[in-house]
């Protein structure tokens, strides 16, 4: 690549376009490999197609429009038994995404905490964090899921004797049931006011930092920010007449209906994924922090920075350079590991699509191809975002 682009700097290739010309040679080699790869893929695809036809196995993607006919317990978009397999695919995909995103956020937060605690000067805290890491990361994830699922289920009562810690909040072995917020028309004004307050606050903080840098004058930016974010939307809320009410769950024959619900399967899956991955992230964070030279801390201390400030302004920014690449791997792992959900009946992409849909249609090649493509796309997008972030925090050489 580099050679090809820098050809202008050198005299135009003197060698004739023969076999002795390295550019021709490399082109021939690459073309050969490419052709060979394409031929092999084509050969396998053609063989598979021929065998499917011979065995009378249906193929093609037309099945996505057929009626699914099965129910799914957690749907983030409207779905019923009359919906199509394609719709079931979307339901499964969203269920995977919601678990992955929540799991990634929680695991990263917990992982950072564990990593920092492992380096604590307090002997007990450091050892507890170390014990956490060793126990959590050495138990297979599937066992984590079973443990948390049945650990979550066991102490919870049936719907008839639901725990009722707060008015409208119910806890039983069918899930955590909360009142669902129902928004009325006036909510738009409230949201706009909130956004204005947020953006205004960010600019305010930036402005005050710049002023402090330039003139040394202090401005209580955070306090003004807080006031802004409370009073501006608050006033709009009152003016709009509280455009909001709660939908409380009502008791049904077996169970409560209405309200919002966190399924035990979802909670167990998020718990298992978070606790397991956080142990790995904790080690990555510890390694990153320890890689920052001792002199950096001592220099910060000699400037009179407090321990927390040192960590935030000196150590972490340098540690991030080492933390981000392996952290990306863990985030990818968490997303892919969420496919174990089917073991505890959480309806993720693998459970719904390459489980139920595959069995109803029998079109293994198509279904598995789509599933693999989804995980590949998710992983590549995550990598892309993390690489972008990594490039931002990487050492800027001047």
């Amino acid at each position: 690549m580099g050679q090809g682009h820098s050809k202008g700097a050198r005299p135009r290739s003197a060698a004739p376009l023969g076999w002795n010309n390295p550019r021709v040679r490399s082109f021939v080699y690459q073309a050969s490999v490419l052709i060979a790869v394409i031929s092999v893929v084509w050969f396998f695809a053609a063989t598979a197609q021929e065998n499917l036809e011979r065995l009378n196995i249906s193929s093609g993607f037309g099945f996505l429009d057929n009626t699914a006919g099965f129910g799914i317990i957690q749907t983030l978009v409207p779905y019923s038994e009359q919906s199509s397999y394609g719709r079931a695919f979307i339901v499964g995909l969203l269920n995977t995404l919601v678990v992955a995103v929540i799991g990634i956020v929680l695991a990263t937060l917990l992982g950072f905490l564990i990593g920092v605690l492992r380096l604590s000067n307090n002997w007990l805290i450091a050892k507890l964090a170390a014990a956490y890491v060793e126990i959590m990361r050495n138990i297979p994830l599937l066992l984590h899921l079973f443990f948390w699922y049945f650990a979550v289920l066991r102490p919870l009562p049936g719907p008839a004797d639901s725990l009722n810690p707060l008015p409208g909040v119910l806890l039983n072995n069918r899930g955590l049931i909360l009142p669902a917020p129902i928004f009325d028309a006036g909510i738009i004004a409230f949201l706009v006011a909130f956004a204005v307050a947020l953006i205004g606050g960010v600019f305010l903080v930036r402005w005050s930092r710049k002023r402090q840098r330039d003139t040394g004058q202090l401005f209580p930016a955070w306090r003004v920010f807080a006031a802004l974010i409370v009073f501006l939307p608050g006033l709009t809320w009152l003016v709009a007449g509280a455009p909001f009410h709660l939908d409380f769950a009502v008791e049904g024959a077996f169970d409560y209906t209405g309200g919002m619900r966190l399924l035990p399967e979802f909670v167990a899956l998020v718990l298992g994924l978070t606790l397991y991955t956080a142990a790995f992230i904790g080690e990555i964070v510890r390694a990153g922090i320890q890689s920052v030279g001792r002199g950096q801390r001592e220099a910060a201390a000699s400037l009179g920075l407090k321990e927390g400030t040192t960590l935030r302004l000196v150590v972490i920014p340098q540690a991030l350079r080492l933390i981000i690449p392996p952290l990306t791997s863990q985030i990818l792992n968490l997303t892919k590991n969420s496919s174990l959900a089917v073991a505890i009946a959480y309806p993720d992409l693998v459970a719904v699509f390459s489980g139920t849909v595959l069995n109803q249609t029998g079109q293994a090649i198509e279904v598995i191809t789509i599933t693999m493509a989804v995980y590949l796309t998710l992983s590549l997008l995550t990598s892309l975002a993390m690489n972008w972030y990594n490039a931002r925090v990487a050492l800027q050489e001047r």
Binding site: P16, V28, F43, R54, G71, P264, N359, G362, A364
Partner: protein, 367 residues
């Protein structure tokens, strides 16, 4: 070579040459063969050969690969020593005995409901004998042929006795645990949808977890085929506090399946099952088999290979049925030994009685 186009052509030739070199067989030959088959149209022999002579492959291997469940008492479940037992298992043993004259020449491959069809399609197993419901789509779209019905079943529910549920309709609004990738999931949806009732379904990958979840009270009911419910009930912490509803919401004819496209293999499976059923009808048991070999009844003589060449017609020895019956007994013996009233499952013959006894088990005659 003055320009890249020439280089590209050379590249293509080298690539194609390399591919040709590494192929396991000659693609040009394959193309000409295909053209031949297409042109003759009557290429039955060719087709059959390419579909895979399953019997020959089984014989060469020396044992039968039989796909069974991961553990369903009465149908296919291993004991502590890893010895399999059950109706589905016995059918495979009978088949192995018919082929090899030795019921031990079979290996059982435990499969989840999710993996079973792919295992049969890919040729990993020779026969799927895994309490699998015979449906039209499975018979036509998956590339299988079902060879008969080993057990007439129907889907039902198990509920807690104190829940006040007497019929399936009382479950409206409840949560129901089941196993993913089964007809059960669809029947459930059909049942509630057609009655305009709501329900929630929790689909587990393995029935073990589904049963534990039901046992812990996560679900109001656990659903599967009635035979499975009787078996799973034994695994609950307090079996007597639970009951199987009398309602049956579906037809579930369970039977073994083979890959489509090998008529001989299909016939071997079908007629081994029919032989076991006919044996019961004719009163041939594993105990009186030796006496029956001397029987004058022409129907018995044909079944046991004393008359005619029925075994040869399916590529087996004339006395194939004798070996099958000696291995497992007739259908009635298989039923009583594995799921009958003397077993913990305690299932009555019901629909599975012979047609002569008021059931629907009816085998075409050997003649």
């Amino acid at each position: 070579m003055k320009n890249p186009l020439v280089a590209l052509i050379v590249g293509i030739l080298i690539g194609a040459g390399g591919l040709y070199f590494f192929l396991p067989y000659d693609p040009l030959l394959l193309i000409s063969q295909n053209a031949q088959v297409a042109s003759t149209q009557g290429g039955e022999g060719e087709d059959r050969a390419s579909a895979g002579d399953t019997l020959q492959r089984v014989r060469n291997r020396g044992f039968l690969q039989c796909g069974v469940s991961q553990g369903l008492p009465g149908f296919s479940s291993p004991d502590e020593q890893g010895n399999w037992s059950g109706i589905d298992v016995d059918f495979c043993r009978a088949l192995a005995a018919a082929i090899f004259h030795d019921p031990a020449k079979v290996r059982f491959r435990p499969l989840s409901a999710k993996d079973r069809f792919t295992a049969l399609q890919s040729g990993e197993i020779d026969i799927l004998s895994r309490n699998t419901t015979w449906t039209m789509s499975r018979d036509t779209q998956l590339g299988f042929d079902f060879i008969g019905v080993t057990y007439y079943d129907g889907q039902s529910f198990i509920v807690r006795k104190d829940a006040g549920i007497d019929t399936a309709k009382d479950l409206a609004g409840g949560t129901i645990c089941t196993e993913t990738g089964t007809t059960t999931e669809l029947n459930l949806a059909d049942f509630f949808r057609s009655r305009g009732l709501s329900y929630k379904v929790l689909s587990f990958e393995k029935n073990d977890e589904a049963v534990v979840a039901y046992d812990r009270g996560r679900c109001d009911a656990y659903t599967t085929d009635a035979s499975g419910l009787y078996a799973q009930r034994l695994k609950l912490t307090n079996p007597d506090a639970n009951k199987v509803l009398d309602d049956v919401i579906s037809k579930e004819p369970l039977g073994p399946a083979v890959r489509q496209g090998d008529p001989q293999w299909e016939d071997i499976g079908r007629w081994t099952l029919n032989a076991l059923l006919n044996a019961e009808e004719l009163g041939v048991t594993s105990a009186n088999l030796d006496d029956m070999l001397e029987s004058d009844n022409p129907r018995v003589k044909r079944l046991l290979g004393r008359e005619g060449a029925y075994g040869e017609a399916i590529g087996l020895a004339p006395d194939w049925a004798v070996h099958a019956i000696r291995a497992t007994g007739n259908y009635g013996e298989m039923f009583e030994r594995n799921v009958g009233t003397q077993t913990p499952l305690g299932i009555k013959r019901g629909l599975n009685a012979l047609w002569t006894d008021g059931g629907v088990q009816y085998a075409p005659p050997v003649r």
